[in-house]
């Protein structure tokens, strides 16, 4: 075993662990809370309500067009906070590493995490590293948790606040992340122009909060795609959501790949899109704020909330017919995030 690979001792809490923390993590994530190396990070008080979330990432391969597991992990957690209208104020990162992983891969991933956290302006204040023997994990899993502050003026958006008459806005194209990972993994030839949309959405949400006082719900449609996100909301609010197929933007490469593979792009994970559900009276201001943001230039109103049938999602197809849009039932794209 060469010196530039992860050893069991790097997870044992002794000298090698301390070396790893200094060389890989402290050198990148440096901030006062992390650098004190307590069992917990200690942070200043939060005014108002706060949001708390966690996500594990097991994406395979680790690197894909548009991102890697590190960027994905930070974006995923930032976006879950953003969906609660919460400004990210601190993240933690916990790694499970497979013995034999190369240091340079870990360092690339940690560089990505640092770059995107820096872009958002959120420090990574706490962490943990475990190492398991070769064959007991596949290269690297990362769990990022986050704490965010909800502005005092904002009533936290939540799935059960959605009401009949609300409009459903989406910040851009669907299916890019899932198909980018799939294409990378399967070596699909036609897919050279499919790039993950993986991006941190806090600044987009910040722009929305500046113009709207009453966002009913936000959700980033990841695993299970737009279909799963809308069905969850419809179910929790006991409403019907009707969306227009023709209003949902989709990149040509993603459309072609989905057609060829027989996958519904509305079932495919996104990692840089936000669903925003608002009263109709707020919708124009919100749409305009979203469109002005670089990550929301293709935003559109994709549907409307009705009162019945409760808990269902309908799709008005390009042909004008209405069909039930169901939650995917199997796992069409494993290890996508």
């Amino acid at each position: 075993m060469k010196d530039d690979t992860i050893l069991m001792a790097h997870g044992a809490g002794g000298k090698k662990s301390a070396e790893l923390i200094r060389q890989v993590f402290l050198s990148r994530f440096s901030n006062p809370a992390l650098s004190r190396l307590g069992d917990s990070a200690v942070l200043d008080s939060i005014q108002g309500r706060f949001a708390f979330t966690t996500d594990s990432f097991v994406v395979e391969p680790l690197f894909f067009p548009g991102g890697d597991i590190g960027k994905l992990a930070v974006c995923g957690t930032v976006n879950d906070l953003a969906a609660a209208a919460a400004r990210p104020i601190a993240l933690s990162a916990a790694f499970v590493l497979e013995e034999g992983l190369s240091f340079s891969i870990l360092e690339q991933v940690v560089d990505s995490m640092h770059a995107v956290a820096d872009e958002v302006g959120v420090p990574i204040v706490a962490g943990d590293t475990k190492v398991v023997p070769q064959g007991s994990a596949d290269k690297m899993f990362i769990t990022v948790s986050g704490v965010g502050e909800i502005p005092a003026s904002v009533e936290p958006p939540a799935p059960d606040r959605v009401r009949p008459g609300d409009l459903v806005l989406l910040s851009g194209t669907v299916g890019d992340h899932g198909m980018a990972v799939m294409a990378q993994r399967e070596g699909l030839r036609f897919s050279t122009n499919i790039v993950s949309d993986c991006a941190p959405l806090w600044s987009l949400v910040g722009a929305v909060l500046e113009v709207a006082t009453d966002i009913h719900c936000m959700r980033d449609p990841t695993r299970g795609g737009l279909a799963a996100a809308l069905n969850e909301i419809a179910s929790l609010s006991q409403v019907n959501i009707e969306i227009e197929e023709s209003a949902i933007p989709i990149n040509e490469g993603v459309r072609v790949a989905c057609d060829l593979l027989g996958i519904d792009p509305l079932h495919v994970a996104n990692e840089g899109k936000m669903l925003v559900i608002v009263p109709e009276s707020e919708s124009q201001a919100v749409l305009s704020a979203m469109k002005k943001h670089p990550l929301g230039s293709m935003s559109s109103v994709i549907g409307r909330v009705n009162d019945a049938p409760e808990g269902s999602v309908y799709l008005r197809t390009r042909l004008g017919t209405l069909r039930i849009l169901d939650t995917p039932s199997g796992d069409i794209l494993p290890r996508i995030c």
Copy 2:
């Protein structure tokens, strides 16, 4: 694949994921923040400073005398918060599951998490589940993150606040957790009386905070044992710590097992012990409070902080000689937590 095992679809964000969440998690962890099923949990404001921490758990086997991976994960994170003098107010739990894991094992583990979180009085408000194909992970990894509130009257303890003249207190015996897991894994015959000390220490720390206003440092000596914890503190505070071998309690079974295997019990992980470092003037009150607590009945003063040599830990042996107590350098006990 039978119906009572975890399938890839349970991690895909669709119907099976929703079923898993309802059946396994919501039925046990039920609380208002979790039950709203937002992308983040939304919680009330925290008065004063707060602590934030994360730990991944990869212990093998999943079940051992005195606990299991679920109890361990909740205790580990609660204890990291407690070491910052923070009352746990919310936990998150993220699972990476291997396809084919039996539901009943997952449910037993989640029951344990629920039981110990309930004992501490902390809700599990956020979670995530990923499933990877058979062979891509070993059964189950759990990452628990936590947020805790530090009482306004308390200056947060931290490794760099330790000063010459301080006394070092330990809440009980060393080595129980690591040797219990080791013995279970290796099927050691002599080890029937070794039980993990895995326990949540917030109530013990709460009792200490009631009698002391100036705790310099607390630490729960997990991976790398007492030796690693003391060396980290000595290094961060640039002090010398001298401890007395004869003052450190150790269970007979652990002592025998360590002797036979040639392992230093001071290098072995604990999961229910707290190191407390205080000015001498506070030490009697703190020791007495610790001894009155069921998890601290064997507490003792195990050493003292000196000014030099900076960053070192000495052990006064039973023979009266002084030797350097170093941080372990390899991984003597892999996958212990």
